[in-house]
Assembly symmetry: C2
Amino acid sequence: MRLSHTIFLVLTWAALFTNSAFSTSPGGADTAFVASRYSEAAHRIITRALSDSAAFERLAYMCDTFGPRLSGSENLERALRWIEKTMKNDGLDNVHSEPVMVPHWVRGKESLLLLEPRRYDMPMLGLGGSIATPPEGITAEAIVVNTFEELERRSEEARGKIVVYNPPWDGYGRTVRYRTRGAIEAAKAGAVASLIRSVTPVSLQTPHTGMMRYHDSIPKIPHAAITVEDAAMLERMHRRGQKIVLTLRMEAKTLPDAVSHNVVAELRGTERPDEIIVMGGHIDSWDVGEGAMDDGGGCIAAWQAVKLLKDLGLRPRRTIRVVMWTNEENGMRGGLGYFDAHKDEVSKHLLAIESDAGVFKPRGFGLSGNDTIRSVVNAVARLLNSIDAGEITERGGGVDISPLMRAGVPGMGLRVHGEKYFWYHHSPADTIDKLDPRDMNLCVATLAVMAYVVADLPETWF
Amino acid sequence: MRLSHTIFLVLTWAALFTNSAFSTSPGGADTAFVASRYSEAAHRIITRALSDSAAFERLAYMCDTFGPRLSGSENLERALRWIEKTMKNDGLDNVHSEPVMVPHWVRGKESLLLLEPRRYDMPMLGLGGSIATPPEGITAEAIVVNTFEELERRSEEARGKIVVYNPPWDGYGRTVRYRTRGAIEAAKAGAVASLIRSVTPVSLQTPHTGMMRYHDSIPKIPHAAITVEDAAMLERMHRRGQKIVLTLRMEAKTLPDAVSHNVVAELRGTERPDEIIVMGGHIDSWDVGEGAMDDGGGCIAAWQAVKLLKDLGLRPRRTIRVVMWTNEENGMRGGLGYFDAHKDEVSKHLLAIESDAGVFKPRGFGLSGNDTIRSVVNAVARLLNSIDAGEITERGGGVDISPLMRAGVPGMGLRVHGEKYFWYHHSPADTIDKLDPRDMNLCVATLAVMAYVVADLPETWF
């Protein structure tokens, strides 16, 4: 499926490329065409997007009223029902829910008590997918390591203990492995539980949760996050030779899969409605904070972008479809379910756009796709230079659109000034007050201009 | 006492001023004298202070091992016993404890549950001195106001409700009044409890505690802090017309006064040992975090400064006395107790120096005192220019030295680059990882150079 589809797309694009009457160089004829045909529409979109704080208010209402939206939770389904109803009230087309079975992990009560060298009730968050401890908890001495390599060197010491990982912050991509693989490596060494320094560069005693993994052939042990501060403290105690004793209690459990939904709405195309620009974010979040940045904001920005086009009477030639994908955080079932439910029209997806980096001030998009789509997107992006959101970089996409991308659909991720994103990510501090209504409006404008123009361009371009 | 003492000091200083052979202008003869006589000592002090991380390690050991040090707690007394013992091991002079009776407020268990519009267990911290709720808690609707003025306008609505203050951040000095006076003003309006937005410019869902007051003629109601995020959320809900129902539970109580201690150590002067430069910080903290910035760091920096002089064999002509004042946070009994215990030698205090702003990179000192002491301090401060810590500003001091200052002793506070101080202040995030060992060493050097040179200058200067 994947290969044949890719070949199909390549052939299509090759044909398009030779059909195209426009140069693909920046500033070339295609750019001039886009500018002459779409500048006014882009201006109207941007002006309207900046005219009120409706997007922010909608996001705030959802976050405040329904709370965090973990897969399997009633919070999430209540939020989805509100979204579907409100999308219908907005007058969008083909608004509906597509059921998806999702993992149903629940945290339950949990605590971590330092017993030695002093009593202290530590802030903590169990990691998504972790097993529970026995009801009485696990009381054990702790060993603190900086890296997997150190754990391997000292594995004899780890037997029967709680392994505390305190890796240096080295960017999210490198530091997160202690969250994902930490329990596996600790269990290999015979540890009874494992704790990680929260995956963040900055902390005010704020624990950060997130997904973790087990390996079928290795014993499962409870795995939780502590704060940057407390991981550093435990390391200081350990290096000083102070004996550390902890009691970890977790009730976490994985229930049978639950029903959740991808909510879908469209602005149907006028001429080629079966051709689709799909755009959205993931509506599920972790079970702390409000899921404002990860990824309520991305969802609502995409939704508002389509509503804005409808309100302005800007209906493109192709269909723009907005999807609130469910269960990105701990299962990706929304993205997979969408792909399965829309298998027959995958080849009709011209472009997939995901916004999952927080609706901070936008920079542009990261694009994964061939030269043809890149020249299209580069040309359209010129329309966003007035709001400094026209930067197109190599590689982009998103977890939810990755099944489409693997099948050859060009994928694009909204890029933002997200320098503080990981301060809040997966933590109780992922709340809407960190966002600026104007920045969010700029995200709405960026998504709306890009989706509208790509969806409206002449077929000779594709 | 105060007036006559002040007159005495003014006369003394007037005499000194006319006795002084040195110009008081920056760069004048006094500066030249200080430079020629003390440059080498200052250089040795600074070099030695920067040669290791002993100060930081001592602070970390104390914070990690004993935990936060609230007045009346066993944590505080254990830390004080360790300090006294260690000061003796350091070979400092006249190391002893001076008992002081301190308030003994204990937090007990506490919680704040949002019931409507959704269930949510909110992070919170009862404020120091607050009364408890009944055991079943107080369940009431909330009203959110930004200011006392708004509360006054809407006081009819506040009756029987929980008042939530969500003032805009307007600097510590102005925003803190909702913490100190919030319960009084809310009770005046007939409220059953009050909550404040934590007094901080930045939050990652971190509540900040601190002192609050009651008024004898106004009913006492429980008073607690919530996070910046949650205060903003409650305000959004309130402005939106969503009904907010909260259950506040607090076990807080004020026990009979407890015995605590000011710990004192000296580097006795060689020629005029009865003349004193007193220097220190407050050793008590709130009962969350580690009290690393507020004010473990200030205490240990002052202590290390004196130890450093001793280790270098730099014994000045007058006595430098280091004091770990107890109970600054919720009573000031340490500062008052010191004043009472040393009444007879108050006039022998040439200068009082407090460090209570975090041991971040030092800038210099803020000085409250007359022109004579200002010219002395200005001249000495030149020796700190090499580490950019020689800036002397108008007005300074500290809570613990304020009784001395009211009696006419010139007072000085260490000034630092404390832009982030209030991010951590009175919160679980007041932990040592926020500090840099080199910055702390620079504080040690700054305190040591200033104290040493002032304590050693010829008597013609005073």
